[in-house]
């Protein structure tokens, strides 16, 4: 094998044959020159270890893990193949190679390695789930059913087992039974978007379209949430990375989870290594804004602008931040800068409209709200604002037309829109229709538990009557 590796110190000039040629799986010829310095740095130590111990499966496997962590799938697979040759009974190398082969779109080979891995550690739940899923997707329902049925008895994997059984029943056309199994899975993990989607399709097949629609709404609500099972072997791979890209991802994940200070720390560490990361500065503008640290947010905004960042989001976030500080004129400027970068920016148009509305520039505000609604027709808040402005301008028929567009879907947001529509009707002198829509809005608000809005509507209704 020929490896060439560049390091910052150029200390490693590794062009010699590292591995003995006697093994059946030859380690491939590698050229690492094209890799960025961060990868080469991470590779240096495990690579040196392989150089010293070319027949040590742990050394080879560890190098493979670094390639996997950096998503260099082809090289990782070749290294795992070598490690497996050296240590055929190691669970980790079979299992991790299976994970890599999935990413290489070689599922047939992945299943073979999952089977091998499970011969070594049959109790490893994450590998069993992967194998059962793979077999189900391949149409091998019998073997998949056996594994899923066994997983139902594993507390951590019970919902996955039930969902798997439900999908098998659906594939067999037994939708009544499929619905039962999926509903059992959902009882254990109610926020499972994929299960709600499968449930919807089985309900559709049974002709229960209304229930199917409701299941679809829950699917949209919960998205990609999925009950995971512990997978320490795979987690150990992702933990290997501590480069700026990995820290960036961790920071975003922390922010998504609501750990703002943790996210700030990660982003600041990214900037400590690379002060030119406009994305990190931009993210910190938002995060410091959310924590109320205006000075730091301002500092990062200016740093990003100085870098020549063309990020529309940067200006938008800064506008929001200024708005929170009631610096309306400066916020207006920031939104206009965002729109200059990206003219199709509905949130920026909407927020700009709100500032113009504050300044009682109703026509201009209406124009911005209309732009927001045109840029993203599903942006119901923008449409509400169009309707509100039209009411304010006394253009009541237009307001009614606009607000009628957002009476569907009848979700938790809808009561506000229905209430606005009722207002337009009443002001247009169409009192009966206004009362009807207001009643509808009140009932829907109560349905979604928004008692404050329901009470406000009730007060208005009392005045109208």
């Amino acid at each position: 094998m020929l490896l060439t590796l560049k390091t910052n110190t150029a200390a490693l000039l590794l062009t010699a044959s590292l591995f003995a040629a006697r093994t059946s799986a030859q380690t491939p010829k590698l050229s690492l020159d094209a890799y960025p310095a961060e990868i080469r740095n991470d590779l240096a130590r495990p690579y040196e270890n392989v150089r010293v111990h070319p027949d040590d499966p742990n050394a080879v496997g560890s190098l493979a893990r670094v390639f996997q962590a950096w998503e260099q799938w082809e090289t990782a697979h070749e290294m795992y193949t070598r490690a497996i040759t050296l240590a055929p009974t190691s669970f980790d190398w079979h299992y991790l190679d299976a994970c890599v082969l999935e990413r290489l779109a070689r599922p047939h080979d992945a299943v073979a390695h999952l089977r091998d891995a499970l011969k070594i550690r049959p109790e490893y739940v994450a590998a069993r789930v992967r194998l059962a899923d793979a077999l189900l997707s391949a149409g091998q329902l019998g073997e998949s059913r056996t594994i899923f049925a066994a997983l139902v008895r594993e507390p951590k994997a019970e919902p996955l087992g039930l969902f798997g059984l439900g999908r098998i029943l659906a594939a067999e056309g037994k939708h009544e039974e499929a619905v039962q199994a999926i509903q059992q899975a959902l009882a254990l993990f109610p926020e499972w978007g994929a299960a709600h989607y499968s449930l919807a399709l089985s309900l559709r097949a049974l002709g229960r379209r209304d229930e199917a629609q409701q299941a679809l709404q829950r699917h949209v609500q919960y998205g990609t949430r999925w009950p995971g099972v512990p997978d320490p072997v795979l987690s150990s791979v992702s933990d290997l990375r501590n480069d700026s890209a990995a820290r960036f991802r961790r920071a975003r994940s922390l922010a998504d989870q609501g750990d703002l200070n943790g996210a700030i720390t990660e982003f600041e560490s990214v900037l400590a290594d690379d002060k030119s990361s406009a994305l990190a500065h931009s993210s910190l503008v938002k995060l410091y804004g959310r924590t109320g640290n205006w000075a730091k947010a301002d500092e990062h905004y200016r740093a990003a602008v100085a870098l020549g960042s063309g990020l529309a989001e940067l200006h938008y976030d800064y506008g929001v931040l200024l708005g929170l500080q009631q610096k309306w004129d400066e916020a207006q400027d920031a939104y206009r800068r965002a729109i200059a970068v990206n003219p199709v920016y509905p949130e920026a148009h909407n927020n700009l409209g709100q500032i113009l509305e504050r300044n009682r520039q109703f026509e201009a505000a209406l124009g911005e709200y209309r732009s927001a609604a045109s840029d993203r027709p599903t942006f119901r808040l923008a449409r509400l604002n169009v309707g509100r402005m039209l009411i304010a301008l006394g253009r009541l028929d237009e307001a009614i037309t606009e607000l009628q567009k957002i009476t569907q879907p009848r979700d938790a947001e809808a009561p506000r829109y229905l209430f606005a529509l009722s207002t337009a009707y009443v002001r247009a002198g169409r009192k009966d229709e206004g009362i009807r829509w207001a009643n509808d809005a009140r009932q829907l608000a109560l349905h979604y538990g928004d008692t404050a809005l329901a009470a406000a509507i009730e007060r208005d209704l009392a005045l109208i009557r």
Binding site: I39, E102, A110, A138, Q140, P346, R376
Partner: protein, 572 residues
């Protein structure tokens, strides 16, 4: 694009490995197709304008239109061009490259075989469009008996009216069919059955040059951003007012009620109610199935129909669409190309607009795990009567094994043979040398370019030369091609369904269309392979307004033109 899910990676069928499915004998000694673009004058190289900024628009284009612009009976080629992306309006930039129109001058040689030659007629035709072009759509919007051309772009769209004398006029402004959104694929179709062609335009993302984001691959190297880095922009539906003008009815039609990063669009009747619906392939957002409610409005039935998401309920990175009756059961099935790792999907229609994800049982899943697909369509390359598939592939993110090479996005195109039993087998190795060469393919248009009774393909290359795949034919199999004439409206019968009735065999239903694929427009004439049988019982045409006509005693191995009112009227 960029979507990888645990679910999708496992959509395969190991039992099919080393499948027992047999490929038919092939016609040409050098493969089914011979690539011959440059040799016959189709000289065109797409320009991405890439300068190392990784603008996402660079990697998406461009398309091609195959249409008979001069009504001389053969297919001409319009190729959409890109150009520099520096934020300046291309139309105002002297020397900016233009899209090109090539006239087909096919003749018959002394041996009776076609001799192809193309002539660049861009300037004289008046279609030297300076724009960062994306795709093309074809239809006779003004019902004057010649085909007009609509060009989408990263920037404003352009409508060229065919003057009927070999020239075009830019009528975009008066027609009212342009905005600044980044448009991709478009489809002409008569959704309201009033006899003129309306227009659906798929729009993609809110990317701008000024708002370009810096993205990297997992190794930290600069790379193209995925669709999730930007926001989808709304599609547009324009109603043809019959007077040369269109009205934007996106709002009133309900089409504005769902977001999506549109890349592919096709119009077909998916619930067999006689009204044309619209299917939109969206990138990383749910695909949409806009069902026609017969009152000028549409409702998105995509998720509930089972044609919007994968088995895990996740949207896929959808690009191109093929819509056709692959299993000869009388309804339109949908094949959608996706990004690497997801597999391409075949949504099998139950006839009522409910779809089953059939990528596993058809064998298409395992054949497409490792590729990113764009242009595609159903077509019967070997005239055995079953609809096969061609897919133009090319990556959108750097391929690891091509690291260090210029443009490390190359993939091989694919040809899948329909075995007639609901399964497909990879026939790419029989396709000829063109299928052994990896490129960054994007658009694909299908049609009988040399008028010899089989379907040829034009494939565009992102940042590379156009490819013309001439079908060498399959001896022993028969065929028929059908063109429609209606008058005075919808002159070419857009959207009509043509049924080829055969004794003891299922009727072959084909749709009169130019839409589908990716950024491209295909031959309007309907082509059907007939296998070894040289006879058919009848041709049934179901016109867009719901009426049916039947023609009997139609000879095969020829192009027939069916004029409305000359057949036997049927009640449906």
């Amino acid at each position: 694009m960029r979507l990888l899910s645990f679910f999708s990676l496992f959509l395969w069928l190991p039992a099919l490995a080393g499948s027992t499915l047999q490929l038919p004998p092939q016609g040409g000694s050098h493969g089914i197709f011979v690539e011959s673009a440059a040799a016959i004058g189709l000289n065109f190289t797409h320009i991405t304008g890439a300068t190392g900024q990784y603008y996402v628009a660079e990697e998406m284009g461009a398309g091609v239109a195959l249409f008979d612009y001069d009504n001389d009976g053969d297919l001409d080629v319009f190729l959409v061009q890109g150009g520099p992306l520096d934020g300046k309006p291309p139309a105002d930039t002297a020397g900016y490259p233009t899209s090109r129109l090539f006239r087909n001058d096919v003749t018959k040689g002394p041996d009776g075989k076609p001799r192809l030659h193309f002539t660049d007629v861009t300037t004289q035709a008046g279609v030297a469009l300076r724009a960062y072009g994306m795709g093309a759509a074809v239809g006779d919007y003004d019902n004057d008996g010649d085909l007009d051309l609509f060009v989408t772009s990263f920037g404003p769209e352009t409508l060229f009216r065919n003057n009927g004398n070999g020239t075009f006029t830019d009528v975009t402004k008066e027609a009212g069919v342009s905005d600044l959104l980044w448009s991709t694929s478009a489809a002409f179709f008569d959704f309201d059955r009033d006899g003129d062609l309306d227009l659906f335009v798929a729009n993609y993302l809110d990317f701008t040059i000024a708002g370009n984001k810096k993205c990297t691959d997992t190794a930290g190297a600069p790379d193209y951003c995925g669709p999730r880095n930007y926001h989808p922009v709304p599609d547009r539906l324009y109603r043809n007012d019959g007077n040369g003008q269109f009205t934007d009815i996106t709002e009133s039609s309900g089409v504005s009620r769902a977001d999506g990063a549109g890349l592919g669009v096709v119009a077909g009747d998916y619930n067999n109610d006689g009204w044309l619906d619209v299917y939109v392939a969206n990138d990383a957002t749910p695909n949409q199935l806009w069902m026609n409610r017969h009152d000028g409005t549409f409702v998105d039935e995509g998720p509930l129909s089972g044609s919007a998401l994968n088995a895990a309920g996740n949207p896929e990175g959808s690009m191109g669409i093929a819509s056709g009756d692959f299993d000869a059961d009388g309804d339109e099935d949908l094949f959608v190309t996706n990004i690497i790792g997801e597999t391409f999907v075949l949504y099998k229609n139950d006839g009522a607009g409910n779809f089953e994800d059939a990528r596993v049982q058809t064998g298409l899943g395992p054949l497409t795990t490792a590729v990113t697909g764009f242009g595609t369509d159903w077509f019967d390359y070997d005239n055995d009567s079953w609809l096969d598939l061609f897919i133009a592939n090319g990556a959108v993110n750097a391929i690891e094994s091509q690291r260090g090479q210029p443009n490390p996005f190359k993939m091989k195109n694919q040809l899948f043979h329909n075995a007639g039993n609901g399964r497909f087998v990879d026939a790419s190795s029989l396709g000829g040398p063109a299928f052994e060469h990896a490129e960054i393919s994007r658009g694909a248009a299908f049609g009988d370019i040399d008028n010899d009774g089989d379907t040829d393909i034009v494939v565009t290359t992102n940042g590379g030369p156009v490819r013309l795949l001439i079908n060498q034919g399959t001896p022993g199999n028969h065929w028929i091609e059908v063109a429609l004439q209606d008058s005075p409206r919808n002159r070419f019968g857009f959207g009509a369904r043509i049924g080829i009735e055969r004794t003891g065999k299922p009727t072959l239903w084909r749709r009169v269309h130019t839409d589908g694929s990716y950024l491209s427009a295909s031959d309007l004439r309907v082509h059907a392979g007939l296998g070894p049988s040289a006879t058919i019982d009848a041709i049934v045409v179901q016109w867009v307004d719901g009426t049916r006509e039947r023609w009997t005693k139609v000879a095969t191995d020829q192009l027939v033109t069916l004029k409305r009112g000359t057949g036997q009227t049927e009640k449906r």
